[in-house]
């Protein structure tokens, strides 16, 4: 795989605030990589530094092996899809898309071909002369993507591009974006705080916390083998049991099994702990059952699927167990 973007010892301070202490990463050609983390973790700052909209306090940024650290954004071969689209309100869809081509002095005929291409890709052919002000969020989103894609950038940077859309449309656009990326073989660097989005779309997920890279792995590994307690709790729900030293045991709620206190046969040889149900929450496909464990303040959450037969109720005493293979040991 060819290297596309490399960040070397990037640091960023705003005044006395250290946003990013020391960040290193290499991103390869054709990858769909997601920077994932809570707001304020520095993911957007990193993306803006790659675009050139922000300058690192120290460190170097390489784009296809060229040092671009001090290169102005308009000279970089990357394009960005902004969080709120940032479409030019005084231009129609076509002129918005044409903007980048005019700047790069692409010949007129080629402009037409390329504009037609992206309009087709983003299914915007009928919106050509529309003003962005007259379009819905999803349509504006497509224009923003078309406007970036038409420049054939080496890397497409996407800053929470689906954040403003409603749930259904977001799901649809996730698939469309993923297909677009696969079809064009482009490198996508995607920023989001939505863990589900990160898991479904990416080849590789980089979890960030307070400007620090917590874990950099495939969605599968991130979900099933989180390295730290932060990753384990940020991605999906998790139950933690403290171990000696600075380790903890993490067990996913769907791996937690419940049994009646007086009937432990289902647990087999696994160790059973006891507690009292404090809450049962209906969530559609699952019920979430919260159990306060005896002799501690820990509350464990277990998912119960509809086909499970016991109708659990509050204040019932239950046994809690899990299989050894579902235990994940994480750093605290």
């Amino acid at each position: 795989m060819e290297e596309m973007v490399r960040l070397e010892h990037i640091t960023k301070k705003f005044g006395n605030n250290i946003i990013i202490p020391d960040f290193n990463i290499t991103i390869y050609d054709g990858e769909f990589i997601t920077l994932l983390g809570p707001s304020g973790c520095g993911k957007t700052t990193l993306l803006r530094m790659i675009a050139g909209l922000e300058t690192p306090t120290s460190g170097k940024i390489f784009l296809a092996d060229q040092d671009v650290t001090s290169l102005a954004p308009y000279k970089r071969d990357v394009n960005m899809v902004f969080q709120n689209y940032a479409l030019f309100p005084h231009m129609n869809v076509e002129d918005n898309i044409r903007f980048g081509l005019t700047m790069k002095k692409v010949p007129k005929e080629e402009q037409e071909t390329r504009i037609n291409q992206v309009l087709y890709l983003t299914q915007l052919e009928t919106f050509r002369t529309r003003s962005p002000l007259q379009m819905s969020g999803g349509q504006q989103q497509r224009v923003a993507i078309a406007r970036a894609l038409v420049n054939n950038p080496k890397v497409l940077l996407l800053d929470e591009p689906l954040g403003a859309l409603d749930y259904k449309l977001r799901k649809k656009m996730q698939l469309e974006l993923k297909n677009l990326q696969r079809g064009l073989g482009l490198t996508f660097i995607y920023v989001t705080h939505d863990q589900e989005e990160a898991l479904t779309m990416s080849d590789r997920v980089v979890v960030m916390h307070n400007g620090v890279l917590e874990q950099d792995a495939s969605p599968d590994v991130i979900y099933h083998a989180p390295k730290s307690k932060f990753v384990a709790s940020f991605i999906g729900e998790n139950n933690f049991f403290d171990l000696d030293g600075n380790k903890a045991l993490a067990i996913r709620p769907q791996k937690i099994q419940l049994c009646k206190e007086e009937d432990e046969t289902s647990a087999g040889n696994n160790k059973v702990k006891y507690g009292t149900i404090v809450d049962v929450v209906f969530c559609g496909t699952i019920d979430k059952i919260y159990v306060r464990m005896d002799n501690s303040n820990d509350t464990v959450v277990a998912y119960q699927y509809l086909n499970d037969t016991i109708p659990w109720k509050c204040d019932t005493r239950v046994g809690v167990w899990w299989e050894k293979k579902d235990e994940v040991i994480v750093e605290k």
Binding site: M80, F88, H90, F99, M103
Partner: protein, 285 residues
Amino acid sequence: MKKGKLLVLPGMMWLAIFFALPMLIVVAVSFATRNSYGQVIFNFTLANYQRFFESLYLRIFITTIFTAIFTTVITFLMGYPLAYTIAFLPKKWQQPCLIMVMIPFWINFLIRSYAWVIILRSQGLINTFLMKAGLIVKPLALLYNDYAVMLGMIYALVPFMVLPIYVSIEQLDKRLLEAASDLGAPPMTAFRKITFPLTLPGIATGSILVFISSLGMFVVPDIMGGAKSALIGNIIQNQFLAARDWPFGSALSIVLGVLALILIMLYYKVLEGQKGGTNNEKELA
């Protein structure tokens, strides 16, 4: 709904009594004559409007319009960069800068005009300094000419240009500039293609405020222009006070008003054309 409509009543009455009625009176008087004591006599005549076409008044009228256009252009050239700079300052510096732009308004306009006289006259600040320094032998004629009038008007009207332009630049979504830069536009191009067209409404408001104000200006030419440079404002003021010819003064006011209206409409047409490339406005309308 009915009760809500009552709320506009005070405002409407105010407009009717203090705007529409006086306006009608001025129109009526402009078609009247006066007797030798200056009393207005209502017998319909067009003579006042005919008199406007005498070369003396036509010439003053044209001078006035050119002075107003020139003032507008200069205040724009000075005001836009100033407004732009203020709008891009850190937030905590913007307010003090705007207050500095507005502070002169707190002082009476007449006094400020006389202050210019003190600065510019033969024994004034500038001439005294230059003579003491041995750079000139006799005082420069800085006051009582068209340049002095222009200086006074620009001085007085710059804030009217700065404030609306500041507002439109301040409201501009700065991410659009980031997007432009990201798409390959160097700063100057981004300004030309994004900032400037999107701040045209502010420029229009500022220009019209300055243009209208300078059309009717009579204090500045009176104090700083001396006898030689009269603008149409001075003539109108004269008709109502010294000459006691209210009908002619009214006719001049009406002509000035109508012309200003036509020019403003033309100006908006041109601005629309400027934005034309995309036809957004037309489609939305």
